[in-house]
């Protein structure tokens, strides 16, 4: 807990100095914000075809948005992490809305060897990950955000509470109920699949 408090205090020190116009603190803060939202954006935006870097682009946009909003940011007693993740959630929602209207880009042929997983491994992984996303999409928004922060981003219950404006105890109760719901939804989905086949 003490190291986490130190981390939180370090972040708030960076924020206050960045708001005051310290360029060094602004750079450091942007690096911290990028690490905070990078996994979150990759979890919310699945990769498809040649659009694999959408999540990275959105993470950069979140950094820009936080940077633009920084001069107007006032510490009102709410965690800075909550501010950052709310900006990220809005950016992801914007991208998802625009993706329904946008053109479908095609992947360029690579000029260098691809050392990533092969097609079979990637398909299996995306299949499982896609099913996990489909199950999470059936949860209420607050539970979905909570599970993404805990599982995909890897935050602790305390950090998730700060990001969502909840107490750690409330996070633990809510995550338990979210897992219960996911189990029930997965079982219902399996039964439906079995009856169709």
């Amino acid at each position: 807990m003490s190291s986490m408090d130190d981390a939180s205090a370090g972040l708030y020190a960076l924020v206050s100095r960045a708001v005051a116009g310290d360029a060094d603190a602004t750079e450091g803060l942007l690096g911290a914000v990028h690490r905070m939202v990078s996994r979150y954006c990759r979890a919310r935006l699945p990769r498809s075809g040649g659009t694999g870097d959408t999540a990275e682009d959105v993470a950069q946009e979140v950094c820009i948005a936080v940077l633009a909003a920084l001069p107007r940011y006032r510490d009102e007693g709410k965690p800075f992490e909550a501010f950052v993740y709310r900006v990220a959630a809005n950016k992801v929602a914007d991208v998802r809305r625009s993706s329904y209207r946008g053109p479908v880009p095609q992947a360029d042929l690579p000029d260098v060897p691809d050392l990533a997983d092969g097609p079979e491994e990637a398909a299996l992984r995306r299949s499982d990950a896609g099913r996990a996303r489909a199950l999470l999409a059936q949860l209420p928004e607050n539970l979905r955000e909570l599970m993404l922060l805990r599982v995909a981003v890897g935050l602790s219950a305390e950090e998730t509470g700060r990001a969502l404006g909840m107490t750690p105890g409330a996070v633990r109760v809510a995550q338990h109920r979210a897992v219960q719901r996911l189990r029930a939804l997965a079982a219902a989905s399996d039964e439906q699949t079995g009856s169709l086949s």
Binding site: S3, M4, D6, A7, L11, T26, E27, G28, L30, G31, A32, H34, R35, R39, R42, A43, G50, D53, C63, I64, A65, L67, A68, A69, R72, K78, A82, F83, Y85, R86, V87, A89, N90, D108, V112, L124, R125, R126, D128, A129, A132, L135, R150, V151, G154, L155, S156, G161, L164, G165, V171, A174, Q175, H176, R177, V179, R181, L182, A186, A187
Partner: protein
């Protein structure tokens, strides 16, 4: 074994949906919390992965950790996952979350599937059957490789340096050795040192300062180097100079006839300044795409994106609380 968060033993939930209004058991809460901690830390056990839901969630985490898709010329995707060495957080901080991963959760399942699919006679038996045809294909490649090695050997004998003919190939294959270190990563290390010094952790602050000093030579731009050295000096005024462990070994026993190297010269010629850069997250991340700090200064970017971002950011200064 009944799962702590599952339905009651011997039955299922009445309508297929777990009743959220039931007060959860404290043990079940703790078990779920520990499970999610392991998933978030990418440290799910094989026992955990037997649960289909946990396996699905582990796959999601696995895909998230797989990083951005590979693009031609994008070396950061091919490079190993960087360590958050330049984080502004304390070294033992829990946030941002990073647990040293020895293997991904998906690897457990893939290896298990591979073992299950192994043929009865083993892979060796299958390989013997295909050996003859493979030799026919491999033969020309072996001959070509031998010719190349002979050519390089002759070149090495002529130049006196057996590695010299390969220097061009090495520099082509590993351009990361010359990859610059970003100013932000070094500044964040200095910021961590400053925080550690202000907290009384002098040893950690000195270690971070030493780390920053070793990487400062790879930072592009003399102005930036001077600025970073000034920042280091300011923190060193509080902590004292950073330790240089390699220096006494060089100056202790200079062989006769060899000019001794002074301790102040050794850090400038130390090779780790460039070898450490590919594992730096702040170095590889900005090179993936547009670095926000250098291309978008806060004062002169009223672009539509920023305006839109600011509006959405403005809506979120009072985030909605959770349940």
């Amino acid at each position: 074994m009944t799962r702590p968060d599952g339905p009651p033993a011997g039955g299922s939930w009445p309508d297929g949906i777990a009743p959220a209004e039931l007060p959860p058991d404290l043990t079940a809460l703790q078990a779920t919390d520990a499970l999610l901690d392991r998933l978030g830390a990418r440290a799910a056990t094989s026992h955990d992965l037997h649960d289909p839901l946990v396996a699905l969630l582990a796959s999601l985490a696995d895909e998230v950790d797989a990083g951005p898709a590979h693009r031609p010329g994008d070396r950061a995707v091919v490079a190993p996952r960087p360590e958050p060495a330049s984080s502004p957080w304390p070294a033992d901080a829990v946030f941002p979350p990073h647990v040293p991963r020895t293997r991904r959760a998906g690897a457990h399942r893939r290896e298990a599937a591979s073992r299950a699919d192994r043929p009865a006679g083993g892979w060796a038996a299958r390989a013997v059957g295909a050996g003859t045809a493979r030799l026919v294909r491999v033969g020309p490649m072996v001959a070509t490789a031998a010719a190349v090695l002979i050519a390089f050997g002759i070149g090495g004998a002529i130049t006196g340096d057996p590695m010299r003919p390969l220097s061009g190939v090495i520099s082509l294959l590993s351009p990361q050795d010359t990859q610059p270190v970003s100013v932000a990563s070094v500044e964040m290390t200095i910021a961590r040192a400053r925080t550690a010094a202000s907290n009384g952790q002098v040893d950690q602050a000195r270690r971070l300062l030493h780390d920053a000093e070793t990487r400062i030579d790879a930072v592009p731009g003399e102005d930036a180097k001077a600025r970073l050295r000034a920042q280091i000096a300011a923190v060193q005024a509080v902590t004292g100079p950073a330790p240089t462990p390699a220096a006494p070994l060089i100056t202790a026993t200079p062989p006769p006839g060899v000019v001794a190297v002074s301790p102040t010269d050794t850090p400038t010629t130390d090779s780790p300044t460039t070898t450490g850069s590919p594992t730096d997250p702040a170095t590889s991340t900005p090179t993936d795409s547009t670095p926000p700090t250098e291309s978008t200064p806060p004062t002169d970017t009223p672009t539509p994106t920023v305006t839109d971002s600011a509006s959405s950011a403005g809506d979120t200064t009072s985030p909605t609380p959770g349940p």
